[in-house]
Each structure stands twice: as structure tokens, then as C-alpha cells.
């Protein structure tokens, strides 16, 4: 028995991408997260096709209807209606669009700015580094939501400004991450080799070092996406985010505070939508992290 085991147990070591996918696939939570996230993306993209009603249309006489499984519901409004008779399901679907748009916009801008600032700090060092790091420290010193509120107070509450505020608030994590991994890479031999062989600085930064900082950056992007969605919803809840009647999940929740006791459904759904989305993204992000971190992959 020992000999045949040794004979067969000699597979080729898997390539990095295969190993990543294998590790990711083996994580049930992560796969579930991926499926749910894809579904939410699908709904967000095709909201205009999938939604049974216009999210802004107020159906008189149909306000505060419960969802379909509760008595007194109307089959035309599957998840019921809100205080002014707008269809809950349609609003949730369009809300996915708003939330994901904010999240993705924040993520993309943060990535670009974070990579630029982080690499600049790592490569130029000296004053540039100190300046960037000080500013990031400052941003981190102010509680995220408080800083976002401050920014909104200055530039005014609307969808674009939500993106601006949430991006600024989350930026330090990207910058520090890129800077730290770039600094770690810079000490390695292959960078020295590249330097010695006369690779120009900009090329060194982007072509040689950046790809090696990518793994943690991808993980950060996933977690940053969920953070941004939560943060934006919080602002919306405080009335400082997207303004009514935009079907934004946080703002939808804020509307329902008076109805909470008499019509709990109106409150339950938007929150559930936020929780599900954020949870699914986080599950996926955790899976990404575990799969990209070879130290954790071993067992």
C-alpha cells in the first residue's frame, strides 16, 4: 500500500491561478457570496427591465401594503408599498443600482488615487512621503462618518458628493496598503536587479513593483466596496446622502421611522437589502483574501 500511494501521489504543483481558483472554490461561503453578489449586480443592471413598476410612481390608495405572504397584500405589489404608495420591490431594485454605483465609483476612484499616492510616497520618500502620510493620518484621526458629515456640510448633500466624501474617508487604507507593500517589495532583490539594469523610475513603479502589490489591493477593494456601501447608506439614513425621492436604501430607511411600529415591513426590507449586499461582498472578500494569501492556503 505505501508504494502505490507514493507512486500515484505525485501530481504537478498547481499554477498560481489554478491554485487560487481551487482555494476560492473550496470556500463555500465565498462561492455563496459570489453568487449573491452576481445576482445583485444582475438586478441592478437590469432594474429597468425587471422592476414591475416605476420606483417613483405613487399609487394612490395602495400605500403601506404588506408583502405578499401577509394578509391584506396586493399581488401587484409583491413586497408591498411604502408610505406614499410606491412599490417596494421596484424601489429596492433601483436601490441596488444606486448603492452599487456609489460603491463601485468609490472603489475605482480610491484604487486609482490610492495607487498613485501610495506609490508616490513609497518611491519618492522624503517630503512627499511625510506629507502624504500625515494627511492620511489626519483623515484617519477623524471618525469616518464624522469626516464624511463635515465634507457633506461643506459641499452639500447629493449623490455625487456622497461619492466624494466616502472616497476621501476611505482613501487612507488604500494609500497605506500600497505604500507598505511597495516598500516591502522595494527591498527585494528583483527590484534591485531592475534598478541596476537601468529601468526608469516610472516603469519600475508601475511595471515591476505594482503587480506584486496587487493581491492585497484586490482584497482591500472588495472590503472597500462593502464599506463604501455601508457608509453611503449611513449618510443616506442621516439625510446627508442621496436626496429623496432617489430610491437609496439608507434614505428609504430614514423615511420609515414613523411607520416602524405600525408597518414594520417598510423598514425591514431596505435594511435587509443593505445587510445582504454587504454580507455577500464581505464573504467574497474573505474568500479572496484566504485564496490569495498562500500562507493560509496550505491546509
Amino acid at each position: 500500500m505505501p508504494s502505490d500511494l507514493t507512486a500515484t501521489a505525485a501530481p504537478a504543483p498547481p499554477g498560481p491561478l489554478r491554485a487560487f481558483w481551487r482555494a476560492f472554490r473550496g470556500n463555500r461561503g465565498a462561492v455563496m457570496g459570489l453568487v449573491v453578489v452576481s445576482l445583485i449586480f444582475f438586478v441592478a443592471i437590469f432594474a429597468s427591465v425587471l422592476a414591475p413598476h416605476d420606483p417613483l410612481e405613487q399609487f394612490r390608495g395602495f400605500s403601506k401594503l404588506p408583502p405578499f405572504w401577509v394578509k391584506g397584500s396586493d399581488p401587484r405589489f409583491l413586497l408591498g408599498t411604502d408610505a406614499v404608495g410606491r412599490d417596494m420591490l421596484s424601489r429596492l431594485m433601483y436601490g441596488a443600482r444606486v448603492s452599487l454605483f456609489i460603491g463601485l465609483a468609490v472603489m475605482v476612484v480610491s484604487m486609482l488615487a490610492g495607487v498613485a499616492l501610495g506609490l508616490a510616497a513609497a518611491f519618492f520618500g522624503g517630503l512627499v512621503d511625510v506629507l502624504i502620510i500625515r494627511v492620511m493620518d489626519l483623515i484617519m484621526a477623524i471618525p469616518s462618518l464624522v469626516l464624511a458629515i463635515l465634507i457633506i456640510a461643506i459641499i452639500g448633500p447629493n449623490l455625487t458628493n456622497t461619492i466624494v466624501a466616502v472616497t476621501i474617508v476611505g482613501l487612507p487604507r488604500y494609500v497605506r496598503l500600497v505604500r507598505a507593500s511597495a516598500l516591502a517589495e522595494l527591498t527585494k532583490d528583483y527590484v534591485t536587479a531592475a534598478k541596476v539594469s537601468g529601468v526608469r523610475k516610472f516603469r519600475l513603479m508601475t511595471v515591476t513593483v505594482l503587480p506584486n502589490c496587487l493581491a492585497p489591493l484586490i482584497v482591500q477593494a472588495a472590503l472597500g466596496l462593502s464599506d463604501a456601501i455601508l457608509e453611503a447608506a449611513g449618510l443616506g439614513f442621516l439625510g446627508l446622502g442621496a436626496q429623496p425621492p432617489t430610491p437609496e436604501w439608507g434614505a428609504m430607511l430614514a423615511d420609515t421611522r414613523d411607520l416602524m411600529i405600525s408597518h414594520p415591513w417598510v423598514m425591514a426590507f431596505p435594511g435587509l437589502a443593505i445587510l445582504t449586499t454587504v454580507l455577500a461582498i464581505n464573504l467574497m472578500g474573505d474568500g479572496l483574501r484566504d485564496a490569495l494569501d498562500p500562507r493560509l492556503r496550505r491546509s
Partner: protein, 337 residues
Amino acid sequence: MFRFLLKRLALTIPTFIALMFITFVMIRLVPGDPIEVRKGERGISPERLAQLRHEMGLDQPVWKQFLDYANGLLHGDFGTSIISKAPVLHEFLTLFPATLELTLSAMIFAIVLGIPAGVIAASRRGGVYDQTLMGLALTGYSMPIFWWGLILILLMSNTLGLTPVSGRVDLIKFYYEPVTGFMLIDSLLSGQKGAFLDAVHHLILPMIVLGTVPLAVIARMTRSSMLEVLEEDYVRTARAKGLSWARVVGIHALRNALIPVVTVIGLQVGGLLAGAVLTETIFSWPGVGKWLIESINRRDYPALQGGIMLIAGIVIVVNLLVDMLYGLINPRIRHAK
């Protein structure tokens, strides 16, 4: 150790200066006439405007204005609220104990539950406990706490009638002068029967709501740090001594695993204050978070300016304290020159 602290302390100075600068610039960026913004009035006559401008030093060069502002801050002058006409520092200090009580209890709640949860999950890696606890932790981490608060109110207060919905204590039943500002302590000091229990009842839901995210973060961090430490050589040595699993995990591994957890706990302070804004709004908790939101809604920019300055200052100081604690539990740093 001392030099390390001194260095850390010196590093916060530029941060403070930058902070002053930002809050200084902020009030100048707010749309509208600077005087009107600061006085909260509209349509002030030109003569009075000139007079006010002079009074407030706005006719000085900008750098002089900044120095005056910084000087004021250093002497405890954080501006005057438009609405209450009271000094911002005074208002802040009156409300801050409520926030402190809430955040402290939320933090204790998070630590007391989070660390054991993380340890249990790590020592049962891959098992049912691990999966359940980490599933819950991720849910908590993903929780929109404003919704979580509403759900808990709906469940605990309205359906079950267990806890009150808002405030810090039932003001109709109990009244006493604030002594420490901490309702739990003041209620005890007042000697009124049931007051303490009432205060606890009021505190419990906001505490859970605010503590949920840090609880999740601490549990997750403890677990991953623990898993890492459990692979260390010294854990193998401890096991080679024939120590019980509880001792290996609870003493040898935990002590080392806590080092990054303390850092994470420190980093939660900012998050807690941010969460306090939402929690206090939901539970009508009379703290600085709710006050900040109200200031925005009333366009009380001086209050906002001073409040943010104070909150950021607190976060910076707390992070400094965490660094000190870090040195205390990590001998390698304590002995570093």
C-alpha cells in the same frame, strides 16, 4: 520606552496643526457669507457687517486669523454655538459623558464577548463553533447599525416591551443632578430606588447596537491572530512541556495573539465615535454624536467646527494611549531603545 512615547507624542503635533488648519479652512468653505454663516443670521446690514468683520478679526490677513484661531484653541476657546450662544467647549463637555458612557460600555461589551469568541473559534478551527461564530461575526461586521438599532427597538421594546426606546433614564420617574455625567454612577449616587436599573435598561440596546461592529472585528481579529500564533514555535514548546490545551491557548498563545488585537481595539475608537453618531440619533441619546447631527441640520457651523476638532483630538489621544498599552503587553517594544 520613554523615548518611544516621546517620539509618538511629537508625531501627533503636526497632525494637530493640520487638524486646526482643516477646521479653520472648513468654515471658510461653507457656502454663504462668512459672517452670516458664523452668526447664523441672514441679511445683516452693511454697516453692522463691517463692524462684525472687525470684531471677529476677519479684516486681518489670513495667516493672522489662523494664528488667532490656533491660539484660541490652545486656550480652550473652541468658538461659540450660534443656537445656544454658549461656548462650544462647554456644550461638548456637558454632552460628552453620555457619549463616553455609551462608547465605553459598547467597547467593554465588544471585548468581553469578542475575545473569547475569537479564541474559541480559533481553537476549534473549521468546526461547528468556528463556522457559527465566524458567520455571526461576519454578519455583525456587515450590519448597517442604524437598521440593526431599529430592528432591536422593534423587537425588544415594542414587541417584548423589555427595554425603553430612547433617552438615558426615565425622566418622569427619576430626577437627580448630574454629578459625574455617567448615568450609571449618578443613578447609584442619587440613592433613588430603581434608578440604576432603569439607567441600565436604557443603556443596554444602544450598547449592543454600537458594540456589534467592534465585537465582530475583535472576534475576527482574535481568531486570525490566534491561528497565526498557534503555528509559532513557542506554542510547540509550550505543548512539549505537557501543558493543558487551555493553558497553551489561554496563556501562551493568547498573550501573544492579543498584541495585534489591542491595536485593532484602538483603531475601533474612531469607528465607535462614528457609530455613536448613528446610535445616538436612533436612540435619542443625548451625546455629542446626536448634537453634531443637530448642529448640521441647524447650520450651526461653529459648533460643528469645534466639535470635530474635539472629537479628532480625542481619537488622537486615545490612539496614543493604545500605543502605550501596546508597549506594556509586548516586552520586545518595552525594552527597545
